[in-house]
Symmetry: D2
Subunit: 361 residues, 4 copies
């Protein structure tokens, strides 16, 4: 398996650095005859795009996606879909100071340790810019999922915590999450977060966040034992997002303190179909979907690029200090919502096709 | 990629059901000339073996591993190592009641939904018994890691929480974790857990647990961007363990409430080498190891097999109740420690070999 | 991808050495609900079994297959099918002379070059005995293919040349190939081959063979561009059989001397369906099946174990001579027919499931 | 494994259609610190470029490769190398007639059978134009091989037969093959081929060819048993080239008529190292390289696009005729040489890195 390829049947391979000419990805295993246009993908890139509110990076990127292959007369041909996004606002001057110094919390040190050198411009390959490719690939996955499962499905993510401030889950409103710039289902918390983030930024600090991703309308039966467990693949996909340090399914870590009789979701029949009385399992049992909502929560660490001086070393193994100037989000988790949605769509699409392969007749 | 195969270069493929004649696995990509005997593997199976204290299942399994291939005159030959463990205590009578009913919290419902039927004896393929194969494979991985990295490495897991009761981290002692039956580094908490688990079992309930796995002595540079991120692969490996619902690396979910200047681990030079002043990253930055301890924590949900009657349905879509009798652990997380260690060893071995492939000259 | 695993969705992983306790394989990605018993598999092992005529090795192996997992109440469960065949006639004494010397034409030299030592007993992992595992896996593949495509399919192989003696294709009779011990569709050639092989053996020599494998009744559409081309995967599967040195599809090498207007198969309509007027393509165009017979021919080199003394070296890099005693087939290609059938079945099964995944709705 | 990805550790994924905006590939698993520029790759594209002599297509393509990622300051970074080649001479008008009709010998019929429709412009994805991506990827592989094995290695291909006309092997001269437009090591045959091809084209026909690829200077030990056999992977790589219908290693099909004492390559010691007295094995035994030249021969069928009218059907299942006008090579095999070299380089690079992974210490 290629180091830059996710998935087994429905795959995507991303490439590109923050300050190279372009980034992109190849989406393969796409079923034929799926209606697909650049605008189908663009809408998701637009959601992720930087510079939309004052708490995200001020880098100006159009993030216009081009489809270079795999689509003919508006439909996928079954061959690889190559997507390309040009880098238009790559100001190399901003990054000259980090050429030799390792920014704490960043991948500078580990890239040098592994590869012996690195493309230091804007974080190179480790930049969050790479996630634009994933969001684009996720747009393709969504169209494939719709072509197989219809319009009743939804994959949505919401920010549920910023720093110490959690939303009130009673206010949950997916419409709000789709509209506000914080991707949060509880619009009432926005003033609290704004005040907190302003203070954080002024202090030269940054903040973490928790994002919850929910896939609704998916059938029971997706996933398989051992290496193909749906929850395991979701954990990999989510932990692989830049700055993510934790993943939980359903009740997650909270289930540790529950008794088995509370945690295990009991089942009744409603309208002739199974109805679970709770969803502590997060829609997955034994690695296979139950047909309930698939619920994943992920923890983003605070942005590592901050104005507070930090102790560090350089690549000559000398002690030094660093202040990371530049156009950085005080809370990278905010823009994690569209990325998390994309990863959910990509994993589900791969599993759906595998499921069909094994069980269709 | 096969649905039952983990890894890309150093792989293992497990097979087998709880009540079939045997379980086992094939470990492939094993370097040649590694000294390996059945006892090298057996010691880890013995740690995981059921029936060792009164809080784990009373199933009596010898769990004797046989090496069927890939080893000649005490050394690996570079060809696949096939491991087999016979099932000796498979009492089918215990499981007749669950043939048609779906146990809440178990994979019964999802297996039927996916496959149309299931081997209902003891949970079949979804039984935690399958983890014995992983522990055996992990034994092979450890020998390979030692052959490349020497004896300075350690992969150890400890139970750090049972139900609501967390250990005192000031008491941390790996020697204790290796010796007591709770795999806990804080022996002082054992009486508290014993009392809690006795009460839990009497109440017909069960308890969750948190296990922390730490890999020490590993070099910087393991892992790679995107699909080969070390933390992402660890998340997959850990979330794929039966009953696990959450995974975090380093500070994990706690990092959400930290400021960037606290969370980012600062670096100094000590004895000419980089020394991080903290380890909130859990030894991984940008998906690549830093050379610090690699730290993962995983949440086990409470055992789903409990004596409390639960509402459920059967495979005729009729409402019913179920009480899960049998020889069950009140806290499956307790035996999760050796399994988590094995998964850590397997992931690190795969990544080490990939790293060598890309960077050796 | 594991070094011992074939296939991408429907996979098999073989393990085992000639003189270890057993050989076997794990077949994964098997759809559920396929009727499968040991006798379904055994019939193919019996065809391949040594000792059936005087031109195959006199090693006495029962080659009894055991299903260790993945089948419940006579049907596959969708989980890995583990197959085991014990080695019962492993006489190590026969092989002591080859411990240090490299038999020309064998893998002795290359295994030592790669791994630094080898299991020299009976060729160890490089023994043709390993192909029994593939034949067993092929038995599973056939059942899966039948479950999807019905009884109208056939996968048959025939020996069409031994040494310089080719069959008369006008005599082609698949029934004969199924019954005679030479697996040849032209029974009339058997006396010629017998005389030739007797003479060959007496001369301390050995002979090569050509086997033709034909899959009939398969739909158009299997395979995909580039890395998933059906002909490419068949080439890999066939070239991977011990002693195979050449593979051709349809007209193969003979097409080089044809004009395009002869080689390209013209198409008419018959009974409302496409009918090709010839099959130089061997049923594959652009890597995708046409619906015609899929035709592959493979060249087996002469057995390398011969009684003629050969110049060679030992593992001390000293010049020496060797005579390979033991129970060897004078023409290994004879027993290649059941192995080639199995590989065809395995490749087609993988491609069929991939095709379903990408195109089923 | 993605359908458009070759390799396991060192991989390449191609994308693109004949008449889309561009074609390209992503090369992944590239070791860091390898010196790589566009001109390193361009030289191989220039060799393959159409329009260089009067027997290859007159399509005018610059085939200028751009490196979009993975290279920084002239060296590879260890992250994916994305290569892009624009399609500049895509005249769609030439192809309108084939929109509904299936050209015999082409993939038109099978693509429609599989995908329900196809990009008919210039063969779309099935066009030989796709091989430019492979040649580009091969250029990267060569640089990696050199970085590990030095300048003593060579991967060269020569056309050894066109139609019925075989070269005189006594004239073999690699320098000639590098210089003449027929890529043949026997310049003396060129007038014969020219006359033959002129006649062939005038007759509205086309011709096949045999290409021999030789890798020299590679160490013993590349490859591994079963699914990783070097010869098996080479067979797949070569059979996957457009129009290839046969592959043989070393003596190949000719070995069938040899006795074992002739076919098995005897070994002596020369200068303290093993020296094989012949190379019927083509440098591979048991799927592992011997250190001799690795020799593969491949059969190209005659070009399917010919001016002779052919019987065919259209996608309405109606009988019709077709004449394929356009800018076609009368012998596609001629340009197969650089493609075959590239595939050899790609396979060897993947195997070398795998070998290092398993055996480096």
């Amino acid at each position: 398996m290629s180091a830059s390829t996710y998935g087994s049947l429905f795959t995507f391979t991303t490439w590109g650095e923050s300050h190279g000419p372009a980034i992109g990805c190849v989406v393969d295993g796409v079923p034929p005859q799926v209606v697909l246009s650049e605008s189908d993908i663009q809408q998701f890139l637009d959601r992720r795009k930087p510079g939309q509110n004052r708490f995200t990076t001020q880098r100006q990127e159009e993030d216009k996606v081009k489809i270079l292959s795999g689509v003919f007369e508006g439909r996928t041909t079954g061959t690889p879909v190559s997507l390309l996004i040009e880098n238009t606002d790559a100001r190399s001057k901003d990054y000259s100071e980090i050429k030799d110094k390792y920014r704490p919390g960043h991948a500078d040190f580990t890239y040098d340790a592994k590869y012996g050198f690195r493309d230091y411009r804007g974080g190179g390959r480790s930049s969050a810019r790479e996630t634009a490719s994933r969001v684009a690939a996720g747009g393709v996955a969504r169209k494939v999922l719709q072509s197989r499962l219809g319009d009743g499905i939804a994959i949505r993510a919401g920010v549920v915590q910023v720093g110490p401030h959690k939303i009130n889950r009673d206010n949950w409103d997916w419409k709000a999450a789709a509209e506000n710039q914080f991707f949060t289902p509880d619009a009432a918390i926005i003033p609290v977060w704004e005040e907190f983030l302003d203070k954080t930024r002024k202090a030269g600090s940054s903040a973490g966040a928790v994002v919850e991703v929910v896939a609704s309308g998916f059938p029971a039966g997706l996933g398989a034992p051992l290496a193909d467990k749906l929850d395991a693949d979701l954990a990999k996909a989510m932990m692989g997002i830049n700055a993510v340090k934790g993943v939980e399914i359903g009740a997650g870590f909270a289930s540790v303190e529950m008794g088995g009789e509370v945690n295990s979701d009991q089942i009744r029949i409603e309208d002739g179909k199974p109805k679970f009385l709770s969803n502590n399992a997060g829609g997955i049992l034994g690695g296979i979907s139950t047909g309930q909502d698939i619920v994943v929560r992920i923890a983003f660490k605070p942005t590592s690029s901050i104005l507070t001086p930090m102790l560090t070393i350089n690549n000559q193994m000398e002690e030094t200090e660093i202040v990371t100037k530049g156009r950085h989000d005080p809370c990278v988790g905010l823009r994690g919502a569209p990325v998390a949605e994309a990863m959910m769509a990509l994993v589900l699409c791969d599993h759906l096709l595998r499921h069909i392969a094994q069980t269709a007749k």
